[in-house]
């Protein structure tokens, strides 16, 4: 418990640094949100900047922002008038979170069994064929796999809608793309880790004392071998985040990834800040969750705290 508390407290300075860094970067973006094809009259622009507090010195703006942030207020959106950044993100985050979770689940459900299967018969076709595929999965970026899947399953076979959002069937292509990309490194990691563990003394002891082979494999070896895999879930989530930028634009999914990219293009400083903070916080929590899961699996880690 004390450990969790310490980790949570540690997140505060990290998030502050992220806020400050993103704040100055976002404000350094050339071109303001009110620069349009037809320039606004100077007074109107001044009034708008005053309204959004953009006329104050940057450190003051940052201070105000952090104070508001502590109260859960991410400020007003500039490109969506009348909406707060919190509302804009709130309307999108569910889409991205559900897509991300389904993809991550899919990745684990495909990646881990494939890795186990490959490690159970090393250097046979059961190992070589799936591992060849995972290598392809690592080298084919999401923005190549996505269009290819769409080309096959929606344009070629007509089974799935090529883009859009709303019903469960729209989930399939984006989630499959993200899931398959993430499953590949998971499978390789599971295989490598199992190969290492299975030659350890304690596994041999278990086998020698007559534990049934399947029990040795799944209870003794796999539990230990999954540790690096669980640790990898944190970085994997980060990969899903960046993957979602591309996948959401490709498949026309109204999620946070697309929100971030449009915010950048629109120079919507508040929205850029808001999305970055939400992403950073989410990833920090996911990493903490991965570490806790690791401790639950491995008493050695738990005791070393």
């Amino acid at each position: 418990m004390a450990y969790v508390l310490r980790r949570l407290l540690e997140m505060i300075p990290v998030l502050l640094i992220v806020v400050a860094a993103t704040f100055f970067l976002a404000h350094a973006v050339p071109g303001g949100p009110f620069d349009k094809d037809r320039p606004l009259p100077a007074e109107v622009k001044a009034r708008l900047e005053q309204y959004y507090g953009l006329d104050q010195p940057l450190p003051v703006q940052l201070g105000n922002y952090v104070v508001n942030l502590a109260q859960g207020d991410l400020g007003p959106s500039i490109k969506y008038p009348g909406w707060s950044v919190r509302e804009v993100i709130g309307s999108r985050i569910g889409v991205s979170a559900s897509l991300g979770l389904v993809s991550l689940l899919l990745a684990v459900l495909i990646g881990v069994p494939v890795g186990v299967l490959a490690a159970s018969r090393p250097n046979s076709w059961l190992d070589r064929v799936p591992m060849g595929f995972t290598l392809v999965g690592i080298c084919v970026p999401s923005f190549v796999l996505g269009p290819i899947l769409a080309l096959i399953f929606s344009l070629g076979l007509g089974w799935l809608p090529p883009c859009g959002w709303g019903s469960a069937i729209h989930f399939v292509l984006p989630a499959a793309t993200l899931g398959l990309i993430t499953a590949a490194p998971l499978a390789r990691l599971t295989r490598g880790s199992l190969m290492e563990v299975r030659s350890l003394d304690y596994v041999r002891t278990a086998r020698a004392k007559g534990v049934p082979p399947l029990r040795v494999w799944f209870v003794h070896a796999l539990r230990n071998a999954l540790l690096p895999v669980v640790t990898y879930l944190g970085p994997a989530a980060a990969g899903l985040v960046s993957g979602s930028f591309v996948i959401e634009s490709l498949f026309d999914v109204p999620g946070m990834g697309r929100l971030f990219v449009t915010a950048i293009i629109n120079r919507d400083v508040m929205l850029i800040l808001g999305t970055t903070i939400v992403y950073a916080a989410a990833l920090l929590f996911l990493n903490l969750a991965a570490d806790l899961a690791n401790a639950a699996l491995n008493p050695k880690v738990a005791r070393s705290r």
Partner: protein, 287 residues
């Protein structure tokens, strides 16, 4: 006396081991070929990469245009070579940036030791959990979409793993007898760094670098794909894939050729990196 204690026998057999790894050797040759063709593209490309020929726009592959033409009638093969030059260039330079930062940071952390070392490594841990792609995108927007900025931004977020590995290796070296001997004979820190650490880290660095290049190239492709990287009329593989994906229904060849070349290049880099690691990394070769 201060000769680097590289095991010359071991490194010789390292090359022999490497040569036996057929996948790695073929990948190496493939990469050399691709790099040569791309970097010579101003001389050997069949057409100038930005020459438009609207009379022959969006044509499927033919004898005149081996890989077809794009919507503006530009030759896809010529653009593929020019884009490859940019992608490989980014891959190499950004990796060099990442290497320089990673080596300095890793060695420094191992050298200072104690609490400062813990703090430095904790910092790496924390930063590597952050959404770095966002930072790269922000940087390219803030500092303009010029090439040096892309190198710096991409390299600037890719050094973390490198720093971690280098620090672990340096710690081992620092505790080794020959370094302690050099220290007791009064060799300067710089001397130890340049004559003992660097030669012994060389293998690790080479492997790390090879395995960093694909990640870096992916990141560049990613940023270009979102329209925030390389700017027209120049192109890169990521940008070509983006343009191809937009009109894949009508002109699939615009998507297929850059995707295939890009994926093959990444695949080769991975094979090469794995081969080098198996051959030269003391830990994996002595298994």
């Amino acid at each position: 006396m201060s000769e680097p204690v590289v095991e010359s026998l071991a490194s010789e057999s390292g090359w022999q081991r490497f040569r036996k790894d057929r996948a790695a050797v073929w990948s190496g040759w493939f990469l050399v070929t691709i790099a040569a063709v791309c970097f010579l593209s101003p001389l050997i490309a069949p057409y100038p990469y930005m020459a438009q020929d609207l009379a022959h726009s969006a044509e499927a592959p033919s004898l005149a245009h081996w890989l077809g033409t794009d919507l503006l009638g530009r030759d896809v093969l010529s653009r593929l070579l020019q884009g490859g030059m940019i992608s490989l260039f980014v891959g190499l330079i950004a990796t060099a940036v990442a290497l320089a930062v990673g080596i300095c940071y890793g060695v420094l952390a191992a050298e200072v030791g104690g609490r400062a070392e813990d703090a430095l490594m904790r910092f790496v841990d924390i930063v590597s959990t952050l959404p770095l792609t966002l930072i790269v995108i922000l940087c390219t927007v803030v500092f303009g979409q010029n090439m040096p900025m892309i190198f710096l931004a991409v390299g600037g977020v890719s050094w973390l793993t490198m720093a971690r590995i280098i620090r672990n290796q340096t710690r081992e070296l620092k505790a080794s007898q020959f370094v302690q001997a050099a220290e007791s004979l009064g060799q300067s820190r710089w001397g130890i760094f340049s004559r003992h650490y660097l030669p012994n880290l060389a293998g690790t660095i080479a492997v790390c670098a090879t395995l960093t290049v694909p990640g870096v190239m992916l990141l560049e492709a990613f940023v270009s794909f979102l329209g925030l990287g390389v700017k027209a009329p120049m192109t890169s593989w990521g940008l070509m894939i983006k343009e191809g994906a937009d009109i894949m229904e009508e002109c699939p060849w615009l998507l297929i050729s850059p995707s295939v070349v890009f994926a093959l290049t990444l695949l080769s880099l991975n094979f090469l990196g794995d081969g080098l690691r198996d051959a030269f990394d003391p830990r994996s070769s002595r298994k």
